[in-house]
Amino acid sequence: MSTLALAPTRLRPGDIVGQGFVGLRSKRLRTLLTAVGITIGIAAMVSVVGISTSSRADLLAELDALGTNLLEVQPQNNMFGDATELPVTAPDMIRRIPAVESAAATRTVEGVTVRRSNYIPTDESGGIAVLATEPNLLDTLDATLAHGTFLNAATGSYPSVVLGSVAAERLGITDLDGDPLVLVGGTWFKVIGILDPAPLAPDIDRSAMVGYDVGQELFGIDEAPSTVRVRTDPDETESVWSVLAETTNPASSSDVGVSRPSDALEAKAQADEALTALLLGLGAVALLVGGVGIANVMVISVLERRAEIGVRRALGATRRHIRLQFLVESMLLAGLGGVAGVALGAGITALYANSQGWMFSVPQAALLGGVAASLAVGALAGLYPAARASRLAPAEAVRAE
């Protein structure tokens, strides 16, 4: 008696994938409609991540341009809860720190409002603050003028005013044509300049700025600053920060608060992440619904293709081969949807970023993750239909019509 070894069945990996494509190709419309669910889910998630990344990238680029080396020194309430003042010497002391490039003091002029005319009640501020400022505020803020000039030593001694962008808008002054005048307190001031928006100093946007001399002369303000803005060497910001309170008020450094305006902008960018997470969640729901759709279609497909399963079993497919075939088909179906979704999501991001004037940025992880997520959903959705297909007895399957 001779023995003959019968080699086991074997299915090449390439053939497994090929079979999956054949299965999808023979039902094109169904493949398309089923994959759309996944496409929408993945596109939603990729575009949400992409738009949020692009927006943040844009903001960070903006922050970089504005500089994260601007610090703000203000008095804060002491341990008894009483208001404190910065020392009169503070600006000069701060300017003596080597790494400080410039420092500009401002003083809020309390109880004085800005008006277009006599007919407006004096207590109607319009949300516009009056600030007495040193001439170097413009350089320290790195702010730019939309019109006119800023205060200097000369104009600072006369009734001249520079308006922040919001203040100018509220007063209805869009340019300097006709030499507009405004009433500051009870005196007519000539508007000599209008600032561009200053993202790092929203309070400046809403202010009318006058010279220190005029402020003292007309409104009797105290010389002590209410805010000192400090521009540092970009590499030394931290070290300046650490000595700033001590330098400002050596006698009582705890009365001094130091902050960085760019941090607030960054925090705003972080706050948007809550919304991003919510939208991502919605995308995940769409993806899940797409996955259920695929599972549904695959179950139907198994029922319809009992004859094919029978033929394949007769040709020598094992249960495992049948299971693999349907699993791979399900994954391919979802994967096609996923690739389309990633492309669509990137496209939406590009369009939106373009419309906002942002630079386009989608993290690579979102692109790869989108495809991986769709494959995972496909695998999950295909598990049950594939198991069902593989459980079909071959004798039963070949009889199916």
Binding site: V311, L315, G316, V398
Partner: protein, 255 residues
């Protein structure tokens, strides 16, 4: 995983000649059934095969004929290694089905058996050539070799010119030829045809039977299952089945 199969006299492929019973070496039996019983559970259980004894040697062409309910389908499942007998012995190409698990039965089907169905059962998404090549997919044969052998098999059934056509572009007779090519592409020990002319008109059916006849003449073992006596008459040997038993087994001299 390897399946051990015992052979009494050489391998099936080694003895393709037929009608040489006077030879000292009898052709190898490719099918041996001894008291094969198949019962389907139920109340009462259905005894579809009730003790069948049947031998088919390599190179034979046998028609198994019987009315519906005679156990033809069940016998087809046994010979095709699609199912195992409840009791008794069924040896296909030397392998005892009762001793094989599902994977080993699959291997046996992939390497030793070829199927032809009444409704052709071609894969609609594939060309004729690829349908034939699909007969080798589960052997792990590389794609280019599969297509070469498929082209060869298509030529043997006279359909070389239709290789690129989809099943929907082929007539019923042509589709059945493609199915036959798929069954023979792997050089099986047995080609098993289940009512292969059942969906065809008489003249096309005769053409298909001629294809089987030609294959038989070149040494292919063919088991033809049919309810139609005129179809069965094309085979040199006819086994009549009734109520799950072999009712008659007639050898005719080949015409």
């Amino acid at each position: 995983m390897r399946v051990e199969t015992t052979e009494t006299t050489g391998t099936p492929e080694a003895s393709p000649q037929r009608g040489r019973d006077d030879d000292a070496r009898r052709p190898a039996p490719v099918l041996q059934m001894r008291d094969a019983v198949k019962e389907y559970p139920g109340a009462p259980p259905v005894r579809a095969l009730d003790g069948v004894d049947l031998d088919v040697v390599s190179g034979e062409m046998v028609a198994i004929v019987g009315p519906s309910g005679s156990g033809k389908s069940t016998l087809l499942h046994m010979i095709g290694a699609l199912d195992r007998p409840t009791t008794g012995v069924v040896r296909v190409a030397g392998a005892d089905l009762s001793r094989l698990n599902d994977r080993q039965l699959s291997a046996l089907r992939a390497r030793r058996l070829g199927f032809v169905f009444q409704r052709f059962h071609l894969l609609s998404g594939l060309s004729a050539l690829d349908n034939v090549a699909a007969g080798l997919v589960y052997r792990g044969v590389p794609g280019s070799e599969r297509r070469d052998r498929a082209a060869n098999a298509l030529a043997r059934v006279g359909l070389a010119k239709r290789a690129t056509h989809r099943p929907t572009e082929l007539s019923g007779g042509e589709q059945q030829r493609v199915a036959i090519a798929r069954a023979i592409v792997g050089g099986p020990a047995i080609v098993l045809a289940d009512e292969p002319t059942g969906n065809l008109d008489t003249s096309t059916g005769r053409e298909i039977l001629d294809v089987f006849g030609a294959l038989h003449d070149t040494g292919t073992t063919i088991v033809l299952i049919t309810h139609d006596l005129t179809v069965a008459a094309h085979a040199p040997r006819v086994v009549a089945l009734r109520d799950g038993r072999v009712d008659a087994d007639t050898h005719r001299e080949a015409a």
